[in-house]
């Protein structure tokens, strides 16, 4: 039974159209990939998230990098790969990276003394910003600069650990637009960003896109706060980081139950879990299910695929017969 489910699962996940986020980090750090299964529209899409631990065992988190396609001002991002290394993941590696404006950071309240920031009611640790570099000053071991994104200015700090970091910092010049990934901390009563990745912006549509992402994330967070269930952001926001934010907090759209199954999927599953279906070793032919539940062929095929991906059913004597995995 397991091998059927596993083989179908891998087939389906390889068909998933999804650009895996890619990550940037120093070569001397250790990183381990953690796969997180996230459901969207009832299908499982596997994201690979790399958590980084630096030499001083300071924690860093998933950083993703997007390159917007020329002229596209939004929509899908193509990812680009950089070198990666393995680290051990710690408990905070589920923290998503939030696109924010400097004004949001400035207004973020500090939840407690552990330097956790609340933006729109969400604990924010990792952020990404797009803005102009000012007052850059680079030394041997670190570099500091100010990022101005039009909504405010914030001080940023970049520790230099290896030649790649030095190169990254050397490229920066005052007045240049960059995308910064880092985490927030308070230093001497001022908020600061400890940066772990800086990229110059090459396609300036990225600026507009970043602000749209901030707005979108803000929208999603507020909506989820207001009514405890969000719009189907989990399914539509696959390409954007805000999707990462909403999914871990178990928000589902109104038409889905907590398992993330559609109502039709649930009906089929219920049918397959009837005692009569369970006892039959050969399973139930999908035509029979379609007939009994009055579903069209395409619908039943789609549903069976979804349930199989979830690991809730498996095919038995041939690909038309299915049985529920629950017994």
């Amino acid at each position: 039974m397991c091998k059927y489910a596993a083989s179908r699962k891998s087939k389906i996940s390889s068909n998933c159209v999804l650009s895996a986020p890619s990550f940037v980090f120093s070569s001397n750090v250790v990183m381990r990939s953690v796969s997180i299964a996230i459901r969207a529209s009832g299908r499982i899409i596997h994201f690979f998230v790399h958590a980084i631990v630096s030499k001083s065992s300071k924690m860093m988190f998933e950083s993703s990098q997007f390159d917007s396609q020329a002229g596209s001002g939004g929509g899908f991002f193509s990812s680009q790969n950089a070198d990666s290394s393995r680290t051990s993941a710690k408990s905070r590696d589920n923290q998503p990276m939030c696109p924010v404006t400097v004004k949001q950071i400035v207004e973020a309240s500090s939840a407690d003394d552990k330097s956790n920031f609340l933006i729109d009611g969400i604990d924010v640790y990792n952020v990404k910003l797009v803005g102009m570099v000012f007052e850059k000053s680079a030394r041997n071991t670190d570099a500091s600069f100010v990022i101005d994104d039009g909504t405010g200015r914030i001080a940023c700090h970049r520790w230099i650990n290896d030649p790649q970091d030095t190169e990254e910092v050397e490229e920066l010049m005052d007045g240049m637009y960059v995308r910064v990934h880092g985490h927030l901390k308070t230093f001497q009563a001022k908020k600061q960003v400890v940066v772990f990745a800086i990229r110059p912006v090459n396609d300036y549509n990225e600026i507009a896109t970043h602000f749209l992402e901030c707005i979108h994330a803000h929208c999603c967070n507020n909506k989820s706060q207001n009514n405890g269930s969000s719009a189907p952001a989990a399914s539509t926001a696959v390409a954007t980081q805000s999707g990462h934010q909403t999914v871990p907090s178990t928000q589902v759209s109104q038409e889905y139950n907590v398992d993330g199954l559609g109502s039709i999927d649930k009906m089929v599953l219920d049918y397959l879990q009837l005692p009569s279906s369970l006892t039959d070793e050969r399973g139930v032919h999908r035509n029979e299910i379609a007939q009994k539940l009055k579903l069209s062929q395409e619908k039943i095929i789609e549903t069976m695929e979804a349930l199989e991906t979830e690991g809730l059913v498996y095919s038995t004597i041939d690909e038309f017969h299915y049985k529920s995995t629950a017994s």
Binding site: G73, T101, K103, V106, G152, R153, A208
Partner: protein, 107 residues
């Protein structure tokens, strides 16, 4: 860290609301005569006059950050070349969102 120098995202229709304040706008350069003014088309297809001396030759799309002087002119402090490919309508949408519904994220 401070929030001084915030620059509001504007197109030509929003420019008049922020006269005297620091604004930022992206224009498509129509005429740049090097004589201290640049004529450009804003993201909502209106003509704007940008006063200032760009430090480098301008590309097709330029972002200007400066003080709004009138309903149609900006005294630019910074010119940033945005290249030759840019989605004006997307930026226009950002301007509108930043000034209306989501003002609290930007200003």
């Amino acid at each position: 860290m401070d929030t001084s120098n915030p620059a509001v995202f504007v197109n030509s229709e929003l420019l008049r609301l922020h006269v005297g304040r620091r604004v930022r706008a992206v224009i498509q350069v129509l005429k740049s005569d090097g004589g201290g003014s640049v004529i450009g088309k804003s993201t909502d297809d209106q003509q704007l006059v940008i006063k200032g001396y760009p430090s480098a030759p301008l590309s097709t799309f330029v972002e200007v950050i400066g003080i709004a002087e009138g309903n149609q002119s900006i005294r630019a402090e910074i010119f940033t070349n945005f290249g030759d490919v840019f989605d004006m309508s997307c930026y226009n949408a950002v301007c509108q969102l930043a000034n209306r519904d989501y003002k609290h994220l930007f200003l």
